[in-house]
């Protein structure tokens, strides 16, 4: 998957998230699994050097809308790219959606 394909893919995931009519965890889990499956392929080239510390301190997601990836940010540089993807894959905040 090249950069443009990845961008299109993320836009599609955004659309799915925007169009969610409920906070059904199963749907979100499927989206997370799908993003992860693409990231695994990307990982060897673009997503190294993420530290443990950064992961634990990464952004908290407090509502379903903040799961949306910022494509402009993704475009800017790989640092932002992985910050946002970290945000989607981060643990703590997602949980608050369902509480």
């Amino acid at each position: 998957m090249d950069k443009n394909e990845f961008k299109n893919y993320i836009e599609n995931q955004n659309e799915k998230i925007k169009n969610l009519t409920s906070n059904d965890p199963k749907i979100v889990i499927d989206i997370l699994k799908d993003v992860r499956s693409k990231l695994i392929l990307f990982e060897t080239n673009d997503f190294r050097n993420i530290t443990q510390k950064r992961f634990f301190e990464s952004g908290k997601i407090t509502s379903i809308s903040t799961l949306e990836l910022d494509i402009d940010q993704l475009e800017n540089n790989s640092e932002n790219k992985h910050n946002y993807i970290q945000q989607i894959l981060t643990l703590g905040g997602i949980i608050s959606i369902f509480k």
């Binding site: 965890p25 190294r48 970290q86 703590g92 369902f98």
Partner: protein, 176 residues
Amino acid sequence: MKIFNKIFKKKGLVKNETIEANKIIQIANMSAVTYYMPLLDEFPKLTIISDSGLLDEFDSLVTLASVGTIMTQIPHSFNDTETRKYISAINIALLNWNDGSPKQVIEFGNYIKNLTEEKKINNVDELSQSIGTWIFLELYENNPHNIEIEIFTNSPKLFFVLGSMITQTFSNYWKN
């Protein structure tokens, strides 16, 4: 079970414990999915898990360890009657999620209980280490033919990091 849920929900009779139990499984499962990529960044050799087609099983074990971690806190958070209700509801939810999972959660619980009784778990760090150890030992025991997985069975740092992800997320579950 889904039919029962629908019927009871319609009548407003779904018990809080049932709703909470289902939520716990889904939250644990979702968290499990989020753990793999950061772990991979820290431990690149973990690609063996995805390359070997074991990612679903890994997700499942992490989910069960997370649910088990939540369950171990129930007796400290509720009275005896409520504890029994929650444990029962979570077991039913686990059964609906995956037939074999209640048994695995019991095994997880016994593993942690034995280590605690042997005074090998005295603090959250040691608990984290033990949780991570259980996950990787189970993964290897379930896939003994996969000799590449064996290299992870003696990786204390990996166990600690994965276990810490779980304890940081769930160690105060009932207080939230």
